[in-house]
Amino acid sequence: MRKFLPGLVVGVIFGAGLALSDMFNPARVLAFLDIAGAWDPTLAYVMGSALIPSAIAYRIRQRMARPLLAPGFAIPENRQLDRPLLLGGAMFGIGWGLVGLCPGPALAGLVLGTWQIWLFAAAMLAGMLLHHFVTQTRAPAHSLG
């Protein structure tokens, strides 16, 4: 429970934020991405305001020897821009633009019960599995996402 419960609480707050800001609504996300159409600024407000508590937490973190419930911080230190990062980002963006769902909204949106979101989430998991099998023989990369 020491690990499950904090994860659950954080997930609930995260999912509530996605639903409150309507970010699990593909129509609204696509309207943000459609800069030549009827543009909807919601995603910019959401991302901009999400940065505030997140950035404050990173400032607090610098004064902490260790997190409250774990032995140490596990923050990626890699600063190198490499091909997998850019290629992966480009692929993700294409998929995001095709449907208007990214991983958080796809999973929070499962609660809606629309078959389209379940299908998308299943395909997303299949894509992750595909990557897992393709790279299984290589050295593990540190994950951020």
Partner: protein, 142 residues
Amino acid sequence: MEALSPWVAIAGGLLIGTAAGLLLLLSGRIAGVSGMAARAVGMARDGAPRRQAVGFILGLPLGAALIALLVRAHEVAVTSSLPLLIAGGLLVGFGTRLGNGCTSGHGVCGIARLSPRSFAATGVFMASAALTVFIIRHALGG
């Protein structure tokens, strides 16, 4: 689709950022959904403790359900065709693993800690997503 009040959008964003900040200060980890999802199903060799990842992933739809109960009913429009849903899901799944992150890990957490990799990734996925939407809706007349 009606416009959403900027204040509601900001409140939602503050919740998302608070969740990310809490996970950092409690568990010392990045609140990245794609990494957590991979971890929850046992695909990532490193990352958050498995039980924490499972809790986080289960929490996402629970939190969304809470908003439906307490604030307003969800009205969501998914208009993509079946092939687009499958292709989009595959690309999002593969791409977020290859690029080590998505909108949350790179877009919210990475930018908040000024990671150059996350700035680059966010710029690339925003641009490729906007380009994809432009091609589908305007160039192809979608």
